[in-house]
């Protein structure tokens, strides 16, 4: 007889083994899916490699795709560590992008660095506002944060759809009208590129800075302690005398602000005009990135870079192996499930029971 038994001590080798198996099973499942769809598996994976890390250009492209994912992943980490299941990153990305775009119109003509700072700041504020809204709904009216964030996501998506698809920000010309996008932003509003790469931009630096800030905040500050304590035992935290409502509000503001930056990075660093289509799914993918990153900032950066590589590679995969680009979200979902199971399994050990004890 074999039985699962909960581990009391932490065994790092076992944990590593579990997560390694999760990776392998994730890839095997992907291969199975490709096989079922009649694609050449080796060709598909080769294309994935080719498009993500075969040259300097593709590496920059991967990192540029990773930038918003790292940010939304970090937003997830901050909330989920406190067991606050906010899935409002998607909407916060939208509101961040929109308020940054508003700032770019309002402050046009200011010196470049002040102008950029204001745009980035407004982006963070936009995301933070939406996060705060969910926190207030929870604190004042006891509205479940999952529900309120999902509903706000949809509301923000429709809001942006109106603003650039018939509303005041709709771009001039047929192209802008068909694709529901704004006028291109001014050159001074674009986030500067790093290393002359034409791909990687200031947003990546922001993402790394945010990751470090999150790492310090969660692990080394009293507020981070409250976040972690809230996740472990919010009742005990309350009896300690902490105002948990305040903690919730602050952490949602912080999480929202980071997600808002993802919107800024995508619009002002990569796409250069406000458009809903480019923002779709950044928040949801960020949840997977944060989860697979083990809800740690460092892990999130690693997972974000891997997922950025997948996103960048999927373009090649579409061309070389004729695999639909939607394979990538599927892979992400598969990996999430295998990692979730690995996360649980790493707390157990297999015990052989002797007969009639």
């Amino acid at each position: 007889m074999i039985r699962l038994e909960k581990r009391i001590e932490v065994n790092n080798a076992w944990i590593a083994l579990m997560y390694l198996s999760a990776c392998i099973i994730g890839f095997l499942l992907t291969a199975l899916l490709l096989w079922l769809s009649g694609t050449d598996i080796s060709k598909a994976f080769y294309a994935l490699y080719k498009g993500s890390m075969s040259s300097q250009k593709t590496i920059f492209s991967s990192l540029s795709k990773a930038t918003p994912l790292i940010l939304t992943g970090l937003a997830t980490v901050v909330a989920f560590r406190a067991k606050v299941w906010s899935i409002g990153q998607e909407g916060q990305v939208y509101s961040g992008a929109m308020s940054a775009y508003m700032a770019s119109l309002m402050f046009f003509g200011l010196p470049v660095w002040i102008y950029l700072t204001l745009i980035i700041g407004f982006g963070a504020l936009g995301g933070a506002f939406l996060g705060a809204l969910s926190a207030v709904l929870k604190n004042r009216f006891n509205v479940n944060e999952i529900i309120s964030t999902v509903m706000l996501n949809y509301i923000m998506i429709f809001f942006l759809s109106y603003m650039v698809g018939g509303g005041p920000w709709t771009g001039v010309g047929d192209v802008a009208l068909t694709y529901s996008q704004s006028n291109p932003i001014d050159d001074t509003a674009k986030l500067p590129f790093l290393f002359d790469s034409r791909k990687l931009h200031l947003g990546f630096v922001l993402a790394i800075v945010c990751a470090l800030a999150c790492h310090i905040l969660i692990n080394l500050t009293p507020f981070g302690y409250e976040i972690r304590a809230m996740g472990h035992n919010s009742i005990a935290l309350k009896y300690r005398g902490t105002n948990t409502k305040k903690t919730l509000l602050y952490l949602m503001v912080f999480s929202g602000a980071i997600a808002g930056l993802a919107g800024v990075s995508e619009i002002f660093g990569t796409n250069h005009s406000l458009k809903g289509d480019t923002l779709v799914g950044l928040g949801f993918t960020g949840i997977i990135v944060g989860m697979i990153g083990g809800l740690t900032p460092i892990g999130t950066v690693i997972a974000g870079v891997v997922f950025g590589g997948l996103a960048s590679g999927s373009v090649y995969m579409k061309i070389i192996a004729k695999v639909p680009g939607t394979l990538v979200p599927t892979m992400e979902g598969l990996f999430l499930l295998t990692f979730l199971i690995a996360g649980v399994a790493s707390h157990y050990k297999i015990v052989r029971l002797k007969k009639d004890v």
Binding site: L33, S37, W85, I87, L137, F141, N142, V143, N144, I146, I147, S148, V150, M151, L152, Y154, I155, F158, F159, S161, Y162, G165, G166, G167, F284, T285, I287, I288, M291, P324, G325, T326, L327, V328, P329, T330, M331, E332, G333, L334, L336, L337, L340, I341, G343, V344, A345
Partner: protein
């Protein structure tokens, strides 16, 4: 705006309300059973997409609407099995499981859809026909609103009293409700907790799969990405707003569906207000509903809490 208040339009909006209501009602009434058993299945949206997508493929391939509906239910049950394995057997957090499955299905259905369609146009199928109830459908106005709907719409309405009866008048219903309040009591009595969790999840997800199939077969003739557009989430909101009671859930779904139906008609009628405002209405309404329902009277005590012996 005045276009909205003509008799024909009002009848159409009300008839549309019951049509829009059907898939959400299926999902909500099924998930009510799951939630009363203490399991917070957040994967309703994903299960619905899966049901819709499977029934699309089967409808196109076989041309049989019955098989398509059946496959929708079956794919819902497959999703339910995965959910139950994660929640009841592995005891992964309920919220995380549901979210993960939603994300997975969002990707998976799109991937298969693109593969299926290839470079061409999506193949179409014949939508469900209306099933007019004889005699009753000749009543002026009311006949058009109530008695000229799809057959499954009547089934959805019937399922509300059936689920009520199951939950409150049968032994299994009692045990499932007990599971949501005090699973330990069942365990001590020697009743299998995990088995009952599986059953509760499967009931919910098969209803949700059916809702997805209806959404696919009744409203359009081909699959499109983001077909469900949050209807699964609205089902969850309806359960909370309906205070975990079949009657309350029914009323909440009715409100959402009415707003949804108004939104559809506003788009068609070209009213001089941005249609996005109306599209956002059900979601706004759900937040307002939840604000009004701040006291969660009947929420099962152990809802969303993994059970460890």
């Amino acid at each position: 705006m005045s276009e909205l208040f003509q008799e024909a339009v009002i009848i159409s909006i009300l008839a549309g309300t019951f049509r829009v209501m059907t898939p959400i009602l299926f999902a909500a009434i099924g998930e009510l059973v799951t939630q009363r058993a203490g399991i917070w299945n957040m994967g309703v949206e994903g299960t619905m997409i899966m049901g819709a997508f499977t029934s699309y493929i089967v409808a196109v391939e076989t041309g049989s609407q019955h098989l398509a509906i059946l496959s929708g239910i079956l794919s819902g049950m497959v999703m339910g099995l995965i959910t139950a394995f994660m929640i009841a057997t592995m005891r992964v957090d309920h919220f995380i499981t549901g979210l993960g499955l939603n994300l997975l299905v969002g990707g998976l259905s799109l991937f298969w859809f693109r593969l299926y369609v290839g470079g061409g146009y999506a193949p179409t199928f014949d939508s469900l026909d209306n099933f007019a109830i004889p005699i009753l459908n000749t009543i002026p106005i009311l006949g058009d609103i109530f008695f000229n709907q799809k057959l499954l719409t009547y089934v959805a309405f019937l399922s509300v009293p059936i689920v009520w009866y199951f939950l409150y008048r049968t032994r299994w219903g009692l045990e499932l409700r007990c599971l949501g309040e005090n699973p330990k009591a069942l365990d001590i009595k020697g009743l299998n907790v995990v088995l009952r969790q599986y059953v509760a999840i499967l009931i919910g997800s098969s209803f949700t799969g059916l809702g997805g199939a209806f959404l696919m077969l009744a409203f359009s003739d081909r699959f499109q990405p983001d077909l469900t557009a949050g209807k699964g989430w609205l089902a969850i909101v309806a359960i909370i707003a309906g205070k975990w009671l079949p009657k309350g859930v029914f009323i909440a779904v009715l409100v959402f569906a009415f707003l949804g139906s108004v939104a559809v008609h506003v788009q068609i009628l070209d009213v001089n207000i941005p249609y996005q405002i109306f599209l956002a209405l059900p979601y706004l309404a759900s937040i307002i509903l939840l604000i009004c329902m701040r006291k969660k009277i009947n929420q099962p005590a152990k809802l969303g809490v993994p059970y460890f012996r």
